[in-house]
């Protein structure tokens, strides 16, 4: 007689494992080409040409960059605490990649007689998970900067920590207004709600219901990603690179890479929350359910397009707006964005109570 201790669906495990592999590799690939895109886009805005020597249009440039980083000498400063020094970039990378677990990349795909959901984990507290992991991301920067035993690094780390704490508040409050409308924390359900608007879902996007919330969320996303104009943590000209001053070789690469993954993931989250996720605008998905897998893949394409547009927007802002001063950053975060987010929350709550509470 055999007793089954745990009834594990092996196919499910395999399916999820494959999905994790694809998502992680996919986000690494996107981040890789985001570095290329960043350089090309910067060149475009500054009347330059950008990388053009490695492969056609310089497409092999990120590979060359990665190879270079691997071959660089790895220096661990004598006075650093070695364990934390190595832990820092690892944490930054880990948290950056972990966020993608709850993102609904697309609808169901029917393969091998199974309905495979294109989402690694449809947990009902999806947004909270994202917030939790993103706030953990600052530990990578803080630990790395503290372990470097360098004043510039420490200043960079302090800046990053205070900045992320300040902006997370406004971000959270702006999201509460959105959650009052959706009534759910699951990212999948939020996307499905947005698909049912007029014009094939286009007018159902949360952006139309929460424009102010979107603006606050967007600004805070810039701050959370440590991107210009809020890149005070690395501020090259005052802090010599900030938290990664002491880092070299692929550890530095991890930090830089984590930033691009963060940028990609926040673009995806913004698209999911405010721009319908994998919803294809001006196209009624429900009427074309017989397209099956192709429809799901088209949805993935739609999400990726939105995310890439947002990444381009991130870059566009970076090459336009100069860096904030530290006091200006705090002023914007605490005195403008938080009151604005609170007002948005109250206004949304009032509108819901007055118009829709029948």
């Amino acid at each position: 007689m055999t007793t089954v201790l745990l009834n594990i669906d092996l196919a499910l495990v395999l399916e999820k494992f494959a999905l994790i592999l694809i998502v992680v590799m996919g986000s690494l690939g996107v981040a890789m080409y985001a570095t290329w895109g960043e350089r090309k886009f910067a060149a475009l805005l500054q009347d330059r040409r950008g990388p053009s020597k490695a492969g056609p249009f310089g497409l092999l440039q990120p590979l060359a960059d990665g190879l270079k980083l691997f071959f660089k000498e790895e220096i661990i400063p004598n006075f650093s605490s070695k364990f934390l020094f190595i832990l820092g970039p690892g944490l930054a990378m880990l948290t950056a990649v972990m966020t993608s677990a709850v993102v609904p990349w697309g609808d169901k795909v029917h393969l091998f007689d199974r309905d495979i959901s294109l989402q690694i984990a449809d947990i009902n507290i999806g947004i909270l998970y994202v917030f939790g992991v993103v706030s953990l991301g600052v530990y990578g920067i803080m630990i790395g900067s503290w372990a470097s035993n360098n004043k510039f690094s420490l200043l960079g780390g302090l800046r990053a920590a205070s900045q992320i704490i300040s902006y997370e508040l406004a971000m959270g409050i702006s999201l509460i207004a959105l959650l009052m409308i959706t009534g759910t924390l699951s990212l999948k359900e939020i996307v499905e709600q947005q698909q049912t608007g007029a014009w094939g879902g286009f007018w159902g996007w949360n952006f139309w219901k929460q424009p102010l919330g979107f603006l606050i969320f967007l600004i805070c996303a810039f701050a959370e990603c440590n991107r210009a104009p809020f890149d005070l943590a690395e501020a090259e000209n005052e802090l010599i690179g900030g938290y990664h001053t002491e880092y070299s070789s692929m550890k530095l690469g991890f930090y830089l890479f984590a930033e691009y993954i963060n940028m990609f993931i926040s673009s995806v989250i913004i698209s999911t929350l405010f721009f319908g996720g994998y919803d294809i605008p001006f196209f009624n998905e429900a009427a074309h359910a017989d397209w099956g897998n192709w429809l799901a893949l088209l949805g993935v394409g739609a999400l990726m397009t939105k995310a890439i547009l947002f990444i381009l927007f991130f870059m566009w802002v970076r090459w336009t707006i100069p860096r904030f001063r530290y006091d200006q950053l705090m002023h914007l975060g605490w005195k403008i964005l938080i009151p604005l987010a609170l007002f948005n929350m109250l206004a949304t709550g009032g509108a819901i109570l007055y118009f829709f509470n029948k």
Partner: protein
């Protein structure tokens, strides 16, 4: 306070209006400026693939000329070395032996002819000093190198390709500037 000069301009520091305090219109304006640059023509020339033409009076690396028969023009008179303000040119003369008439145009020739490209200032005075059209400044320049020693160019590096053996390379090296030497000496 009395102004020190007449060029003083009073700055009006009036408080910002609400629209200005929002910053968003200003940010939008700035973004449009950078976006506008995306559609501008880029002035960069893709250097190694695309080369900008030199001006017709460009003075590049020296070339020792041959006549149409492929004989060296230089007679090692030393006028170029005297004219050179940077003292970059050194040479040793030798006498042409019977049977070498197809190599050297006149009885005397330069057995050794060196130009130190690190000293050369590409002024072109050697070209002006030369009575035999033997040296002129081409439209190429000395390529970068790792060692100082390699910047001392000897005769084999300076000589133009032989027009009899390699007419195409000769024409290319000749460029637009040098006048092909006529065999005036032979006609005399």
């Amino acid at each position: 306070m009395q102004a020190l000069t007449k060029r003083v301009k009073a700055v009006h520091r009036k408080p910002m209006s609400f629209a200005e305090k929002l910053y968003l219109p200003a940010i939008f304006k700035g973004m449009m400026i950078t976006l506008g640059h995306a559609f501008k023509k880029r002035p960069t020339v893709n250097y190694p693939e695309v080369k900008r033409p030199f001006s017709p009076v460009f003075r590049g690396m020296q070339i020792l000329n041959r006549d149409a028969e492929g004989r060296e023009n230089c007679t090692a008179c030393g006028l170029c070395a005297v004219a050179c303000p940077a003292e970059a040119i050194t040479m040793e003369a030798a006498e042409r032996q019977p049977g070498e008439e197809h190599l050297y145009r006149e009885e005397k020739y330069a057995a050794k002819y060196e130009i130190n490209m690190l000293r050369c200032i590409f002024c072109g005075l050697c070209e002006e000093a030369c009575p035999k059209d033997a040296i002129y400044l081409s439209e190429t320049f000395a390529p970068a190198d790792y060692k100082r020693k390699q910047f001392v160019y000897n005769k084999s590096e300076l000589l133009i390709p032989n027009p009899k053996e390699d007419p195409e390379a000769y024409k290319k090296a000749l460029g637009n500037r040098a006048i092909p030497t006529t065999n005036s000496l032979d006609q005399q």
